[in-house]
């Protein structure tokens, strides 16, 4: 525990979390970011905006999401009790929708009739297409052609919702390239377009704004833990790609010094193989996508291709606030391999009747390693950030099954 957490109010006015974050974009985007900063600051002070956000979370998303004691799984592991924050039960099946509601409300306030988004696994793309359909906005989603191949069902969902899905053929054809392409669209069409970034990365104010919209997860958890257990958990565990579900559940817990915060990165085929996506575990600080943070890069500062069984964690950077929380010691970051995540995926299916997303399975896998080392009266809270329907093909393929 560090003294920083006592009076935590980052980022500072210029968007920095210590040396991380900031506004590393071409001058052509500065005007748009200034406009966004002002609009967001005004919205935060507007009770009507806050009331509408809360209303939509309740009646459209289905919040609060349940807090569920995974009794059978916990018993089998023989140690700490595991509680699951059921973000998988949200409308569209993941935590991503919380942020999309907030940003699309902001887009409407700013009079932008067109929204764009980047997506990896497709969850953020689906959530963006969903809110765009509801508000009658034009929606364009950029998606790496490699991810389009891996996530065909989500591509079709976006199209059903009226979005245009643009395949990105540059670079590694995955999430980072989709983000590059969305930025290029934004700088070209900035007068009528709002860029809905899906994670706690990008230039200021995005990491702060996305965190704020997602922190409903942690606020609900604090109330629900108190109600069900009469106390807060010993540790909060969440998977980290860009890190929005983790920031959402961590943020309200930062001042609660006794609660360990554990972020779980994708170790892919193993950190030593180089085929992974663990930026905090194995990367070093640099500048990408508008912020300074830990990056997976080669010795010349070129961003390298990542690997994870879960497309949503397949990103070479990480939100700058996570970089700061790691450096100052408030949060710990570990990694879990494809195989361990798959095992946790199957365990939760068989023991609790819940099919988790492969992203969330990384957090589950770490909980399943930590729980047996702790006494039975300890409590682990895991953010079950999404459901696994979208991963059927990937898991089946790993098991040698074709539909």
């Amino acid at each position: 525990m560090t003294q920083h957490a006592q009076d935590y109010d980052l980022p500072d006015a210029s968007g920095h979390f210590g040396q991380y974050g900031g506004v590393f974009v071409a001058e052509t985007l500065i005007g748009a970011l200034d406009e966004l900063k002002e609009a967001y600051a005004a919205a935060q002070r507007d009770p009507q905006f806050i009331a509408e956000f809360d209303y939509d979370l309740r009646h459209y998303v289905g919040r609060p999401s349940p807090l569920y004691h995974a009794r059978r799984w916990s018993e089998g592991l023989g140690g700490a009790q595991i509680y699951l924050k059921r973000e998988d039960l949200n409308h569209t099946g993941a935590h991503k929708i919380n942020n999309c509601i907030g940003q699309s409300m902001l887009a409407r306030r700013m009079g932008k009739p067109r929204v764009i988004a980047e997506t990896g696994a497709g969850q953020h793309g689906v959530a963006t297409a969903t809110v765009a359909a509801r508000y009658g906005m034009e929606c364009v989603v950029y998606m790496g052609s490699e991810d389009i191949r891996r996530q065909a069902a989500n591509v079709y969902r976006m199209k059903l919702l009226g979005a245009t899905v643009v395949p990105v053929e540059s670079g590694s054809r995955t999430l980072k390239d989709a983000l590059n392409e969305a930025m290029r669209d934004w700088v070209t069409n900035v007068s009528n377009t709002f860029y809905i970034i899906g994670t706690v990365a990008g230039p200021h104010p995005y990491p702060m704004m996305v965190r704020d919209f997602q922190s409903v997860i942690g606020r609900e958890s604090i109330a629900q833990m108190q109600e069900q257990c009469g106390r807060q958990p010993d540790a909060v565990i969440a998977c980290v790609g860009g890190g929005s579900n983790a920031m959402g559940i961590f943020h309200p817990y930062i001042p609660v010094a006794a609660v360990r915060l554990i972020g779980v990165e994708a170790a892919g085929e193993g950190i030593a193989t180089g085929r992974h996506a663990a930026s905090l575990t194995a990367g070093r600080p640099g500048v990408l996508h508008g912020n300074r943070t830990y990056l997976l890069q080669d010795e010349n500062g070129q961003i390298i291709e990542t690997h994870s069984i879960s497309a949503g964690l397949d990103y070479p950077g990480v939100g700058p606030e996570h970089a700061w929380l790691m450096d100052c010691g408030r949060a710990e970051y570990v990694s879990v391999s494809d195989a361990e995540a798959l095992q946790a995926f199957h365990d939760l299916c068989r023991l609790e009747g819940i099919i988790p997303a492969l992203e969330s399975s990384h957090a589950l896998a770490y909980a399943s390693k930590l729980a047996p080392t702790l006494p039975k009266d300890k409590i682990l809270l895991v953010n079950l950030s999404g459901r696994g329907d979208k991963d059927m093909h990937t898991v089946a393929e790993k098991s040698g099954i074709t539909f």
Partner: protein, 274 residues
Amino acid sequence: MSKIQAVFERLQAQGRKALIPFITAGDPHPELTVPLLHTLVQAGADIIELGVPFSDPMADGPTIQRASERALAQGVNLRQVLGMVANFRADDNETPIVLMGYANPIESMGLDAFAAASFDAGVDGVLVVDYPPEEAVEFARTLHRHALDPIFLVAPTSSEARMEQVGALASGYIYYVSLKGVTGSATLDVAAVAARIPEIRARTGVPVGVGFGIRDAATAAAVAELADAVVIGSRIIEEIEQSSPDKACENVRALVAGLRRGIDATSSALREQP
């Protein structure tokens, strides 16, 4: 006085405007970069912007992205780019070279190490696309310490206050991005540019080059009437892309010489005005 400043002063005395072509280092092949640099000078370049390839060129359109990818596929890195500049300097100690790229390869090398190596190689200025002035105070200081000019972008959306913020850090010239979008976008609106140049010049105190969307001699000439320099990138990369490697220099020479004639025709017309 920096080499870049000297170029602008000489041209001003002659009543001429600067032509600043851009190529990506290592495109189409690392061994062609130095010959292409000499070709650009022979065809009339006053200053050259040399792109440092990066894996994620967020502010560039498809043309320069492809050039970057071609260079990276051949393993071109920042140290090699500096080596190319040093080779060029063996035969040309006059023409200023401005490196243009993204922050991460530079931060990976370390700001001070980069600035020192750039000075040693014979680099004159550096433009880092994703360093707006608020994130570049230390960087600009480091460059100045090594006698390098920090070049900054100004956009149509930049406020007067921002121009002054840029002016406090910049030397050499200002690169005015003449339209919304990425490099290689549609053709620019000359009238819109005309309105901004005097203001930028006044608030930053350095010469103003205009780029993004200049594709032919006529537009180059029109921009030269207003600005101190004309920057042309994507159109040249396209020429390189469409040429077989043995014809690349020849075709680029013809293209750039044409642009030079366009710009000089404007300059002489301006001189003859009463």
